[in-house]
């Protein structure tokens, strides 16, 4: 195995970017989703349509936004609409191909918690809350997840279901009336998971270079389902890494000032 010449975040971003097809309409959250979506746009998917919940449609920022409402998102957008419109006409309207989310906690059925650790009334840790996630996860045609994995994030039981994935598994999501198909892929710092086609339980299908199954089990709060054959995540091509590093250098320079 060659020396690792990229960080874990870079690998995750590159792996997520790979799964965004050119021309797809992507509703993007801040952080790793935004990094990966812009990386895709700057590499193999120049016609990827990025929508941020601040109402910017088809935005093409030259640097990564720090908040979903950065000014450059409006300046480079094809259209800027109000917040009620972005949620009603565009997300709920069924116009989003891929909702791209992170989360504080996930369970085996891809349900997400971004609300509280502990009891809702007397929380141990109060998290930011729902934002756009509950409706992104149910209205987008599919959902891509990207997040750090350990036993505190991949948990057996969520303290709070902020956002639905596959509910209690099986056909429970379908029966709920949620218009979209749900999460199709979860990319972490260790590997890639997809829901089982029938039970909808997350299944490890791919390992990042240098990671073994035991490491993943150790970072999963439930008895992990592992696919019979495990793929290995391709190392990010040098060109992709160069684009990503340029993007991050530009971002750092742009956001450094007051």
């Amino acid at each position: 195995m060659p020396e690792t010449t990229y960080t874990n975040d870079e690998l995750m971003a590159a792996e997520a970017a790979r799964h965004l097809r050119d021309g797809a309409v992507c509703f993007v959250g801040i952080g790793l989703p935004s990094t990966a979506a812009n990386l895709a746009r700057l590499t193999h998917a120049p016609n990827l349509v990025l929508i941020y919940e601040s109402g910017t449609i088809g935005t093409k920022p030259s640097v990564l936004p720090l908040s979903i409402g950065d000014g450059e998102l409006a300046e480079t957008a094809d259209a800027v609409v109000s917040v009620p419109e972005i949620f009603a006409y565009w997300l709920q309207g069924g116009r989003i191909d891929v909702g791209f989310l992170g989360a504080a906690q996930i369970d085996r059925y891809c349900n997400l918690n971004t609300t509280v650790i502990g009891d809702y009334e007397k929380p141990k840790t109060r998290l930011p809350g729902a934002g756009g996630a509950p409706e992104i996860a149910t209205s987008a045609k599919e959902v891509l997840m990207i997040m750090k994995q350990d036993k505190r994030t991949f948990v057996d039981r969520l303290d709070f279901v902020t956002t639905a994935g596959y509910f209690t598994g099986g056909d429970s999501r379908e029966r709920s009336g949620a218009p979209g198909a749900g999460p199709t892929r979860v990319i972490t710092n260790l590997g890639v998971f997809v829901p089982d086609s029938k039970t909808k339980e997350l299944t490890l299908v791919q390992l990042h270079p240098g990671v073994d199954v035991e490491q993943v089990r150790a970072a999963t709060g439930w008895p992990l389902r592992v696919a019979g054959e495990l793929a290995q995540t391709p190392e990010p091509p040098a060109e992709t890494l160069a684009v990503l590093r340029d993007l991050q250098a530009r971002t750092k320079a742009a956001h450094a000032g007051g």
Binding site: I30, G31, E53, S54, G55, T56, L66, S67, I68, G69, D70, G71, L73, A74, E75, A77, A79, V80, V81, S82, V83, P84, F87, A88, L91, Q92, N111, T115, Y120, K122, P123, K124, T125, R126, L127, P128, G129, A130, G131, G132, A133, P134, E135, T138, S139, V161, T162, T163, A164, G165, F167, R173, S176, G177, A178, P179, H255, A256, G257, G258
Partner: protein, 272 residues
């Protein structure tokens, strides 16, 4: 018909103790100067409404101005937690804070319903979420045509909406430019509306992605250059990202926070 007032006059006249107040501006044009004036005037028991509480409500909550918060995402964007918000929810400091928690889509629908003088907003929302178990204002409504069940949320009708905009003209019409967010809905949903602006101009510049809100739905217009700092005003100044990061340290500690508010808000001159 909008009256030109100083910010101090506008807050004194239009914000009462106990009011429901929406200081809006979705990740842009956040009306910080108005929030600071509310703290300086010692307004109490406010029911604060805002999709993204941001630093502005962290400050109001920590300063003890709020009894209640209606919101949909309470973080420091790109940084992490709002520590004063957390301290209020987790430890009742400086006072207990009642929270009413929504998703963005629901809160946007609730503002739009308020602006439309409808008693409720409807959305395909909260499917599979635990939020309706905690927020009992979220109900279900049945479509009279298809029988489908949808989420219904009560309209937001704040006593006062406060927003920041780039320009007012001499008549008090207001131009908002760039990310327009939820400001128009907040103004139209509210009983009274205060708008702080970067400048008063003879003619609007009408850049792309701009909207105009007419003077006759606004109670007061206040010229407050820099009134959105450390947030940004598209075309005027950038977001002070360094301050958003620094806030994490300031707000993490009760004493440091209190000292900061004393120094930078309470002892600062009124916008008179």
């Amino acid at each position: 018909m909008a009256e030109f007032l100083t910010l101090a006059q506008a807050i004194e006249r239009y914000v009462d103790n106990g009011d429901s107040v929406a200081l809006e501006g979705f990740t842009h044009l956040i009306p910080f100067a108005a929030g600071h004036e509310i703290i300086r005037q010692g307004k109490r028991d406010l029911a604060l409404i805002r999709m993204t509480p941001d630093l502005i409500y962290d400050q109001l909550i920590g300063a003890g101005s709020a009894r209640k918060l209606i919101f949909s995402w309470g973080g420091n964007p790109g940084v992490g937690s709002l520590h004063r918000f957390r301290d209020a929810v987790e430890n009742d400091w400086p006072a207990p804070l009642e929270i009413v928690e929504h998703s963005h889509a629901a809160m946007a629908a609730a503002y739009a319903a308020g602006a439309s003088n409808l008693p409720f907003g409807v959305l395909r929302g909260y499917i599979g979420s635990d939020l309706p178990k905690q927020n009992h204002t979220i109900k279900t409504i049945e479509c009279p045509f298809t029988g489908e069940h949808l989420a219904a949320v009560p309209a937001l009708r704040p006593d006062v909406a406060i927003v920041h905009a780039q320009q007012a003209n001499r008549s008090g019409d207001v131009l908002i430019h760039g990310i327009i967010g939820i400001q128009k809905e907040a103004i139209l949903a509210a009983k009274r509306a205060i708008v702080t602006v970067e400048e008063i101009v003879d003619e609007f510049s009408h850049p792309p992605h701009s909207i105009v809100v007419p003077n006759w739905v606004i109670s007061a217009v206040c010229e407050v250059p820099g009134g959105a700092k450390p947030s940004y005003a598209h075309g005027y100044y950038h977001r002070d990202n360094a301050f958003y990061i620094e806030w994490d340290t300031i707000a993490r500690d009760r004493e440091r926070f209190t000292a900061w508010i004393d120094e930078n808000v309470k002892k600062a001159p009124a916008n008179a």
